[in-house]
Point group: D2
Chain length 232, copies 4
């Protein structure tokens, strides 16, 4: 399999600005190294280093905010075949930076591609989560849900993460914590390959097949075989 024409964007949603240490980045690095090994072009964005304005419009400078770095990030996301959101866990939930990124991704959900599908169709999405004690699955179910809702295809086992035993303790990578966790390593390897496989499939098909899922066509009365034509 040749993945060398694929592009991937990793968005690290840590609360810690550069050059501070992000434990989540350590896990992203392992996943992105596998992609790079296969020739995938990888970009990694640390969201907190940018000013991402609150709101649900594509560019918030048109809605009263002085600065908004989101449009440039969105361009990178739309230029890529794969999106991975990485988040730390706080109080059992994804970070506020991750929530912000999802809100802004959502701001483009009204746009459509040439086939009339939502703009994110034809791409693969996944997530990586680190914390010191609890919440990988809680964060992942929320993030993956949002990505598929936006139009991403979610491969099998599209999340990976590391947490320690219940209670305070080291974060991922502190004195090597988690680096030799076989479960985390296996899941990271599987999710990374599965994202590349799905992106490969979709790229080879020229995007997600365009029938039965085009917002534009639906809005002008195409019923897509719905059993109650009058209700569609």
């Amino acid at each position: 399999m040749d993945f060398s024409d694929l592009r991937a964007v990793y968005i690290n949603c840590t609360l810690t600005a550069s050059p501070g240490l992000s434990h989540t980045q350590l896990l992203l690095d392992r996943s992105s190294a596998i992609m790079q090994h296969h020739g995938v072009e990888v970009a990694c964005i640390r969201a907190v280093d940018h000013v991402i304005a609150p709101g649900v419009y594509p560019d918030m400078t048109a809605h009263g905010w002085e600065r908004d770095d989101w449009p440039a990030i969105a361009a990178q996301v739309l230029d890529a075949d794969i999106l991975v959101l990485g988040t730390p866990i706080w109080l059992g939930d994804k970070s506020s930076v991750c929530s912000r990124v999802i809100e802004r991704l959502y701001a483009l959900s009204g746009e459509t591609n040439d086939a009339g599908q939502y703009i994110y169709y034809g791409r693969a999405g996944g997530c990586l989560v680190t914390g010191n004690e609890d919440g990988i699955k809680h964060c992942a179910m929320n993030i993956l849900y949002s990505l598929q809702h936006l139009g991403y295809t979610i491969p099998p086992q599209a999340d990976a993460g590391w947490i320690g035993e219940a209670g305070p303790g080291p974060s991922y990578g502190d004195d090597g914590a988690g680096f030799d966790n076989d479960f985390t390593n296996r899941n990271t390897a599987f999710m990374t390959h599965n994202l590349m496989h799905v992106a490969r499939m979709l790229k080879d098909l020229g995007g997600f097949p365009a029938y039965g899922n085009q917002r534009a066509a639906w809005d002008v009365g195409q019923g897509f075989d719905h059993p109650n034509p009058e209700h569609r």
Copy 2:
């Protein structure tokens, strides 16, 4: 596109035994009608009509329970290319019957296919949710998470549902409630087609591509390009 060689299983996780009215079934019927229109062979199982024992083993009669109808249901699920779980909402969450079905699906998660992948790989999964007031996304994020964790590929917009305004009110189909909801109808059409598209892709490829995701190979030391070979 020809979908006529595909098989789909819908599991309705209503709390109401047959022949009682299941509002969730009314939504499943709309989705399955679209599949049948395309020649997909559809089976629909009302889980509550069966005795599905509690536990996390493939057959609970081997673990002290007198009766367990799950193995026969599991055989149908494994024989199908598509799985759709349908659930009503109670107190904002999926039904206990849906939880039970997920637990028992999980009971097979240790098994692998001929390629050494988890047994559910190569299939498409989605869900349908109905309630009278709140919780479609909460239920869907949990169900879709479980399905991808098991090995299902999740297409874009793989959930659909109907709820009414906050507060008590009609359930889906009561005096036609929700039947003309354009959002519900559109989402139902899109998720149904997207499940067929992903199942088609995977079937044409002879399953989910087998590299980087085989449990069996990992367990004997294959590192799948993990950047830290000693840690894999």
Copy 3:
């Protein structure tokens, strides 16, 4: 403080029938031992040992099911000042047995006490969660939400639990796993005392204060100081 006139019910929602080992029970035992030390009368019910019919009515034998042990359990719950739900974690979520118990608790949500409040008012609720790797908070937020929705008062830090590091591993109590986890022990102690404190307060007041929360009064037009009387 004297807690010796209080009663508590612990419902263990393990999937394992007696006399099988329930790891969750080991944690319940630690909490209940503290209550018993203070003279609280404690009953512990292992739900899976009973036939609890699916549905959302108080007694499902009135709705087509042959047997339903729930009414007897409900009587114990309503006789107690404190309710603790204990659950194992499967695929990151509470057990199907726990979902079933919550559905059936909900079945009484239409009933009111002598003050016209929902029947569960005047009681304290909490939860205990065990698993081998992830999900305490996800389960707890769902269970505690349901309990407060039903009318229970939730004390500070009303949940406790134990999980190990990410990946397969021992369950609570396997070779003593978790027994010396200071975080789990502290949370268990705090939640147990806080439940007793809240139950004490409410009992001393003769129940939750009855103004502004009586369904019966609202339904006949009492507005409880709502700023828009015509809309109440």
Copy 4:
């Protein structure tokens, strides 16, 4: 009952800066009007109008951020007996502003009061949620979980909200949408009164009873009747 010595803080977590219309504010106003009717001193903070730095420390200007308005907000929160978080729903979840507020509340979780309890003990917490179609309970279970984890006591039925039927539609208050929803109005009245009742109880007791829940005492070896003294 006299509530006139109580103070409440409402934090509106809308994404819309002043003077833009916040639909969530319309619901907060109804709740706060009830409190004011009873003489409670109410402050309402629109979080997005402030610069709340990302991070999990009490004051992020000590950690590299130029500006952080959080310490002043935290002072108001700690000065109040009641905290209500209000949030809009985006993609089924609470807003990023609400996540940020919770992270910063959490930043004080290591501090203790004079009794050695976590600093938020002795207060009542609740939430209000608005959206156009789905997610009140999902947001509420997360917010209420966080509040109880921090030390707040959660009264019965401590959340209220409004959403419309599945699909796009009016937000709360658009052309009066939701204003005459009896369920929303009743829940708003009940949650508001129940917050005042719990705050009253706790204030009359001089705080949450201090036994079995003091972090400081636990850390120096107090076992609080834990059944395994060596493990506590």
